[in-house]
Amino acid sequence: MAPAASVGPWMQIRGLTKSFAGELALDHADLDIERGKVHGLVGANGAGKSTLIRCLAGVTVADQGSVTVAGEDLQKGSPQASEQAGLAFIHQELNLIPHFNALQNILLGAPKVTRLGMIDWQRSGVAARAAAERVGIRFPLETKVSELSMAQRWLVMISKALVRDASMIAMDEPTASLSGPESEQLFAIIRDLSAQGVAILYVSHRLEEVLQLCDRITVLRDGRIVDAAERGALNKKGLVRAIIGHDIRPPDERARFATDRARQPIFRVREIAWKSAVKGVSFDLYKGEVLALGGLVGAGRTELAHLVAGVARPDAGHFELDGKRLDIANEAEAVRAGIALVPEERRSQGVMLQQSVGFNINISTLKKLRAIPGLPFVSGRKARRQAEGLVAQLGIKTPGIETKIGGLSGGNQQKALIARWLNAGTRLLILDEPSRGVDVGAREEIHDAIRALARSGVGILAISSDVEELTLLADRVLVMREGRITGELTGSDITEARIIELSYHDTNDAEGEIA
């Protein structure tokens, strides 16, 4: 299958390096990819998998290093060049146009047969139908994509790659939205394609899958390739060790708040389920503790936070706040009940960038700032006093409360968002990725503020994908995986290794291996 001219592996990645804002996202990565093999790529969030794939796709330009495909250098930073070299990329979001049918989607952007300048769908369709047959599509290609299941959409994406004569198809978390049998069907197709000489680059958090499917597995950590092994040379335990590294931090010495379970919990979650993202989650949150949810991106944590904060309504289950059952229809009702969310996407969901720091802090407590109770006028004096007080309390570094919040650093914006809820009668504060994009110093201050709030009696539920942050911040960690809570860690058990282990394994699973 391989062209005679090329010697060695079909694709050679050599010394690929990329840094963002001084941080190395990819550090001299070497990787060989051969046609007819399934290559697994694993690593924690931020390990550099996406950066590697984006470099191959030509979406990101590498700082150093080279990629050769079939003996020829791949032009950097050119998606067209990557496509011409036969590389195809299927992202989780599947860039399909929902109201186009499968055939139109498969042919989108591909050369089409035209007659008199009009697309001849009949003849253009021949190649598409051949591709569809190769992946075993059984539904009519005239079906709109919006009417297809996720698994069928994946088949459309793969056909789309095949129509362009792709020699390599990279798949990012293909099974994240597929059911068990659908995943099996996809694996069969992947094996088929591989047998036909297509190289597959398979990126997944699901280690069982990777071990079962891939001929070769490459592990990335902190931008470096730390392990590469043929099938059978690695087991799940070894893979987990490679992903988190050997230099595991000693358990944090800081005294953690010992949860007092004898008292009535501030907040209870009972059998909450929503779509396929959250599958029956229950837990209690006690006074004084910082409770954190860990797990991988897509484990259902953000969805759970949204359900609590009224962004969406659960399909099943209920919440109790201070012993009272809640029925929350929307965000406004959640806030009235005393539940507030500091969202993951600070810029798009948190701050009003064009408004001042004071405006952003006061927006949730306008009623308390009225000049005369009962009349809707906001007292400038009270507003100023509250904003200035909170700025001082949280150490928000700003020239003044009239400064536009867009001019502040991410950490100070985040503090302002926490300040928003301090005088709002908040009983439960949910913080989704509280220190994302925040420097270490500000992170420390944000953590202190969160702990102080917890000790003062506000329920704190923090969500973080940053394992280190979980060990630093949390008094108790619940780890979620695929919509379920897979484990609970307290005290000195809260370590990076244990969190990662639980993120990848079921508890039963882990016990089984240990036994």
Binding site: V351, M352, V378
Partner: protein, 336 residues
């Protein structure tokens, strides 16, 4: 000397670009006000006797007042990040109904006006419900409702209502109750102050700004976003109704489509205003300046005897220019 010249030359490109940038920011903030002043100076110098007179200034203010009222209402919908294309039609429709209530139904003047204003607010609120609850794009829903109103107005009265309107009604806009200023000017001042206070000094105004600033953030802050938007639409409808009522009083009749043209004026004024003093944000005082630019411009055109077909050229040109300036101002604010 040589060395000095050398460093000066080296610094020059940097200094020039930052100078240019400062100038652009300054221009985007104060450009509209400078433009207004330049127009006033130019017209005063070239037509001192006619332009620069108390009578003419009052004339300009009277003309501006109806536009200013409808444009401030429109400002509210833009503040919350929406759009209202129905305001001109609402003004025409309500202007017709208010005269009809007096002429056909025999309502007293005060009751007719109250009904007319409430009708305008109700139409606005209905627009708001269509946009927020039914989730129809604001451009489509307000255009649809506006077009329907034209037809409903025609059904109500296919010819202008000119007889049976009490003299006292036309006196409302012709009278000069305070300081010898035309009544519409006084009404405009009251409306503008009220809308400015609501927008800047009350909870609902702060919430409107939050909704327009970042819808998701506002929602997560516990703001009932839909209600805020409906309030903004209702205000726009109310203001449109007030302009329509004053226009009928001014014309002494209820005429189909009489106020349709205010739509474009209002949009031009509001966008000019958003490029004034602030970076692309919609605000009441900006809107007033936008209205004055239009009024002075129209006045100048007619003083210099420009043919009437110059008016739409001026109006359309200003609208495009205003929206362009507003967009530029926002881009500079974002990059700053």
């Amino acid at each position: 000397m040589m060395a000095q010249a050398g460093t000066a030359a080296k610094d020059a490109p940097l200094r020039k670009s930052s100078w240019k940038r400062t100038a652009l920011i300054w221009l985007s903030r104060y450009g509209t006000i400078v433009g207004l002043l330049l127009m006033v100076v130019f017209f005063s110098a070239n037509a001192p006797g006619i332009f620069l007179s108390r009578a003419n200034f009052l004339n300009i203010l009277s003309q501006a007042s109806l536009t200013a009222i409808i444009a401030s209402g429109l400002t509210y919908t833009l503040v919350v990040g929406e759009f209202d294309l129905s305001i001109g039609y609402v003004a025409s429709f309500v202007g017709l109904i208010v005269t009809g209530l007096m002429a056909y139904q025999g309502f007293p003047i005060w009751l007719s006006i109250v009904c007319a204003l409430l009708l305008g607010a109700a139409i606005g609120a209905f627009n708001g419900v269509l946009v927020t609850k039914v989730r129809i794009n604001a451009v489509i829903s307000t255009l649809g409702i506006g077009t329907m109103l034209t037809g409903i107005g025609f059904t109500y009265s296919s010819f202008p209502i000119a007889t049976g309107i009490p003299r006292a009604f036309t006196d409302i806009s012709l009278g000069r109750l305070v300081f010898g200023l035309p009544n519409p000017v006084i009404i405009m001042v009251i409306v503008l102050i009220a809308l400015w206070v609501i927008l800047n000094k009350t909870d609902i105004g702060q919430k409107m700004q939050a909704v327009g600033g970042n819808l998701e953030a506002a929602r997560l802050s516990g703001i009932r976003v839909d209600r805020i938007k409906i309030f903004a639409f209702a205000t726009a409808g109310f203001c449109a109704a007030l302009t329509g009522t004053l226009l009928s009083s001014l014309l002494g009749s209820g005429t189909l489509a009489a106020a349709d043209g205010y739509l474009l004026d209002a949009f031009a004024a509001v966008f000019l205003g958003s490029a004034t003093l602030r970076e692309g944000e919609f605000h009441i005082s900006g809107t007033l300046i936008g209205v004055l630019i239009l009024a002075v411009g129209f006045n100048g055109l007619s003083i210099f005897g420009a043919p009437t077909h110059f008016q739409p050229i001026f109006k359309g040109g200003i609208l495009v220019l205003a929206v362009g300036m507003s967009a530029l101002a926002r881009r500079y604010a974002a990059s700053a």
